[in-house]
């Protein structure tokens, strides 16, 4: 089947991601979209010395925000130094499974947060709001460890954003959340920040649930009247130990590598992956809500009502 894939150029590099822990993680979740694990060395950890030139180049290019992912970023021994340097330049968000926190680490995080004019966000991922729903995906005992990590962050004055892949039908959101909010209130998180994410049907998740269908591609026709700023590759890039890739979701695809430097990774990208559909459907999925700017054109064209 021949498909007319559209291409998308980088409008401005607003957001720079770092695959700071590569594909290395202390957990082995069976839904991980790039199949990270303790022994997946496909992408290695980034050292501070590898990271620093990109931070400096990002400041020259006018980057607005920085995100850190993996793998598990806190498995990277250089992470605290990396975050402290970042917070001199701009806001930082680290995506974490929260199972590696110790009180000393949280203390250091709080200290760099307080020394910066920018926000340090810690985004804790889980896959269910009880051991029964989370642990079959993340591993035995992980729910308890995550809750312990959240408690440490709360004690350090952080308000972590808790993200969860929706592993249940959307109609059950309220019921799933109600009980969890009670558990969080018990550890002192009275008004929790929770972000529910749809599942990305790639990597381990394609095997766990099901993959995309053959027709799940973006076509040129679909881009007509669509606000392309909703697609992460219009405003972001991600750096790994190998170089600069087009987006966090495709970081393990060989042709996602665009260049060695940020300035050489600005070229347009062909939206030929099924995973691009998730971005098309759900918009700024990977970003924090504070960075959202919803799609004017789409709202105007298809959702308007009579005046």
């Amino acid at each position: 089947m021949v498909l007319d894939h559209p291409t998308l150029k980088l409008d401005h590099l607003d957001t720079l991601w770092f695959q700071i822990a590569g594909t290395l993680c202390n957990l082995r979740c069976n839904h991980c979209f790039i199949s990270c694990s303790p022994d997946n060395y496909a992408l290695g950890m980034m050292t501070f010395d590898q990271f620093l030139p990109y931070l400096q180049e990002a400041a020259q290019l006018g980057v607005k925000e920085f995100y850190f992912t993996g793998g598990e970023p806190f498995a990277n021994p250089d992470l605290l130094k990396i975050l402290a340097a970042t917070l001199q330049v701009g806001p930082a968000t680290a995506l974490t499974n929260a199972t590696l926190f110790r009180s000393q680490v949280v203390k250091e995080l709080a200290s760099m947060r307080d020394a910066s004019i920018y926000s340090l966000e810690l985004r804790v991922s889980m896959d269910g709001f009880s051991p029964e729903t989370n642990d079959p995906i993340r591993g035995p005992g992980t729910f308890k460890r995550i809750m312990r990590g959240i408690k440490l962050l709360l004690d350090g004055g952080f308000l972590p954003i808790i993200t969860a892949m929706r592993s249940w039908p959307i109609e059950q959101d309220e019921a799933q959340l109600a009980e969890f909010k009670t558990s969080l209130a018990e550890i002192g998180y009275r008004y929790p920040r929770i972000k529910l994410l749809p599942s990305l049907k790639i990597g381990q998740e394609a095997r766990r649930d099901h993959g995309y269908s053959e027709r799940d591609y973006i076509t040129k026709t679909m881009m007509v009247g669509f606000d392309s700023s909703q697609l992460i590759c219009s405003n972001s890039r991600i750096v790994s130990a190998r170089g600069v890739h087009v987006c966090p979701i495709l970081v393990d695809q060989p042709d996602s590598l665009l260049g060695k430097r940020l300035s050489s990774a600005k070229q347009a990208f062909e939206l030929r992956y099924q995973a691009c559909m998730t971005c098309y459907q759900y918009g700024a999925l990977c970003s924090n809500a504070s960075s959202a700017a919803v799609n004017f054109e789409r709202t105007t064209i298809s959702r308007s009502r009579p005046r």
Binding site: H12, D14, A58, A59, Q60, L61, G62, V63, K64, E65, V89, G90, P91, R113, I117, Y118, S119, L120, E121, G157, F158, L159, D173, E174, Y191, R193, I194, K195, L196, S229, N288, A289, S290, S291, A292, A293, V294, F296, T299, T300, R303, S304, R305, P306, R307
Partner: protein, 274 residues
């Protein structure tokens, strides 16, 4: 009232009116007392408060120049929501209540007026080239929060738009920064609800530019965030009488944001109590 410096300009900026016509009336009086020569409104006229036509009517009668905010774009074009981008179900519920009330109670004439408002205005203040916008120069509903907007990004905006000062609103929280010498970003705040700090007063901005000397050098710039007192109890009573949610009224009476907190970055969120 302090005396106006010789050969100077005194200009006021405000946004996020959110139907708070009582604060708008108080602002006009306060600005007059301060010797303000010109006023600019940076949009988001409706939402949250009661009787949305009243603020629109005041703005139209006084001839104040107004920029379109995302709320005005939505109401003016008959869209289904305010384009704030909430994903949290509770936030969305309150945003919908507020939007539907505002849409129902805004006259067709005011909707037509909102639809035609400009999305930016460029002015000169002394030696400074100033761009007025709602969210950011590039997108009406872009949030530029104090703690998630890097200096590098602001400098990029100044260069791209060839400008010295950017004034915006949209987030409802006032802040300012000079990321490089002579370049200023100012969020002028909102007069529709307090800035989530436990006070009942609201915020607008007065810029004083002392153009003394006229030798081509950059003029002296003073930026004041004015805490504006108004009859918030009357506003709260009117919100009760038109059936607006108790959560909104609590914000007016206590100064703490009770809804739509999802979009706040970590530091801004930590300053509130919810």
């Amino acid at each position: 009232m302090s005396p106006k410096p010789h050969n100077s300009q005194r200009i006021a900026f405000f946004g996020g009116v959110y139907s708070n016509y009582l604060a708008l009336e108080a602002l006009l009086e306060d600005a007059r007392a301060r010797g303000v020569q010109r006023l600019y409104c940076l949009g988001d006229l409706g939402a949250f408060g009661p009787l949305p036509d009243r603020a629109c009517d005041i703005l139209r009668e006084t001839g104040i120049r107004v920029i379109q905010g995302n709320y005005d774009n939505s109401i003016g074009n008959g869209l289904v929501d305010c384009q704030c981008g909430y994903t949290d179900p509770r936030d969305n519920n309150f945003a919908k209540l507020s939007y539907d009330y505002t849409f129902r109670n805004t006259s067709t004439e005011n909707k037509n007026w909102m639809r035609k408002l400009p999305s930016e205005i460029r002015i000169q203040i002394g030696s400074y080239r100033v761009l007025l916008c709602h969210g950011s120069p590039r997108k009406m509903n872009e949030f530029l929060w104090e703690t998630t907007t890097s200096n590098a990004f602001l400098n990029w905006l100044f260069e791209k738009y060839d400008i010295d000062i950017i004034v915006g609103t949209h987030t409802g929280l006032h802040w300012r920064r000079e990321p490089s010498p002579g370049k200023h970003f100012i969020n002028c705040g909102a007069i529709g609800r307090p800035p989530n700090d436990g006070q009942t007063t609201v915020v607008y901005t007065v810029i004083n530019a002392d153009n003394d000397g006229n030798d081509g050098s950059a003029c002296r710039l003073e930026v004041d965030f004015v805490r504006l007192t108004y009859d918030y109890e009357r506003l709260a009573a009117e919100m009760v009488s038109v059936g607006l949610p108790e959560e909104f009224i609590e914000t007016i009476r206590t100064g703490w944001w009770t809804t739509c907190n999802e979009i706040l970055p970590a530091k801004e969120r930590a300053r509130g109590i919810y």
